[in-house]
């Protein structure tokens, strides 16, 4: 039956979505028609906006994310592992971490601007703060939720503490760590956009805020489309990396 065919339904859904969007856009202000968005994007690839072409802006945002994300994961993941493996480290760091954890990363934007001004440093700082929490939490929980039977096995096989950590802990915690990296990545996009909305002269957030200030909805929606594409691309990249690094991860079917 054609109604049960998934690909047919997907097609119908996309078609309906764009048709409704187009119809709505004709009657409403501040909603560009789909083809206007494509046109605007095409134009932005060649005409620089504030000294940068579209690709330049994409790179500006991606660069910030890469720097912040790398710093955060290099600090947070080892720290999380140490906290789970050593109870003294845990006793010192956990209370401070619990104190800072509930503050939304975006709340740090203002203090970052007071500290570092409106340059690159403050944006990278916000990304580091935002990505730090899930990286650390997942590394920590990843180690703590390792099945105890696995430790028993390695001990029976004659392993010492070092073997336990290297042979059991790390491989078993890898999937959780990667899940943390995935969450971090989406938070990093939120952070970089928010930081760019507040103050920036380049980046994807700058494109949409400029579109807003110039009352050009096509530019705003175009920026959103590019953000969606790039964010989706980086997510794919991390899941690809995950498959490469830990092929033993069990997948949940579907999403």
């Amino acid at each position: 039956m054609i109604l049960k065919n998934r690909w047919f339904l997907y097609g119908v859904s996309m078609l309906a979505f764009f048709l409704v969007w187009d119809r709505l856009a004709v009657t409403r202000d501040f909603l560009p028609r789909p083809y206007e968005v494509v046109l605007q994007l095409w134009r932005m690839i060649f005409d620089p906006l504030a000294g940068k072409s579209l690709l330049g802006h994409v790179w500006a945002s991606t660069q910030r994310i890469l720097i912040g994300f790398t710093i955060a994961s290099l600090v947070a993941v080892p720290l999380g592992l140490m906290m789970a493996l050593n109870r003294y480290v845990n006793a010192i760091v956990k209370p401070l971490f619990d104190l800072l954890k509930p503050m939304p990363p975006l709340a740090w934007i203002s203090i970052a601007i007071l500290w570092f001004g409106i340059g690159e440093t403050s944006k990278v700082f916000i990304i580091v703060i935002g990505t730090f929490v899930p990286c650390l939490l997942n590394a920590y929980n990843g180690v703590r939720l390792v099945e105890p039977e696995l430790y028993d096995v390695i001990r029976i096989l004659g392993g010492n503490r070092r073997h336990e950590i290297i042979q059991v802990c790390f491989p078993a915690a890898f999937p959780a760590i990667f899940a943390g990296l995935q969450i971090s990545l989406s938070i990093a996009w939120t952070c970089v956009l928010a930081a760019e909305l507040v103050s920036a002269r380049s980046g994807l957030g700058f494109i949409i805020i400029r579109g807003m200030n110039l009352s050009r909805p096509a530019m705003v929606v175009g920026g959103m489309v590019v953000i969606a594409l790039v964010a989706w691309g980086t997510t794919l990249l991390v899941s690809g990396l995950e498959k490469l690094v830990c092929p033993w991860k069990r997948e949940i079917e579907g999403l």
Binding site: S13, A91, P95, W115, I227
Partner: protein, 264 residues
Amino acid sequence: MAYEQVRVKTPLILRLLPILSIVLFFGVWQLVMDWGMVPSEMLASPIQVFQLFLVKWTEVNPDGALLSQHIWTSIQEVFTGYLLALLVGIPLGLAMGWFVVVEGLSRPIFEMIRPIPPVAWIPLTIFWFGIGISGKVFIIWIAGIVPCVINSYVGVRMTNPTLIQMARTYGATDWQIFKQLCIPSALPMVFGALQIALAYCWTNLVAAELLAADTGLGFLITMGRKLALPDMVLLGMIMLGLTGAVIGVVIDYFEKKLLAGIRR
């Protein structure tokens, strides 16, 4: 009781270290400010923040509202968006998990919208809704709906297939299986979504209030920055963290009560 409670004694030092760590943190922070190692326009000492906290309950200036008003506005915005996200997201996710037609029709649109961070909606929202409460609710709604849909969907998908086959064998209709098997088995995942969605909503509240607002905790922070008052910024941040944590605990309590009979 068949088992005797096993008490593992924690060494004294492990019980002291957390307290020490917190005390040291605030102590160093206070001392750094007292000795003037960090200029006072960049950071305020904990005592200053606490003083401002006491004063803000009765003092309207300089940001134009009492602390209680800021908190109340933020909670109102978050809860409206959050409840709407639950009301739309959970049924949609559950239906997407079971009915092929619903999944086929809504999945592509959902997948297109999902990677866009809610923050990116702010400019469009301001065009569409102006700077009133409805725009902020919309952003919070967008933020909250994604985890609701995903968790409910995965929850239904993880229903034990043997049970579904058994129900089929006994002649249950699609709707009966959905109602009596899939939904109960998805409940723990759905409740997991409550916490995640709340955290997302709370984070994006700041973003929603960042650009346009006249009360709210996010606005308090932004005002603090514009007036270069670090104690106000810090007070806003701490109140955000505190309120978020309290709401999280309340939801956790209800979750435990409601899920009392269901195996996790």
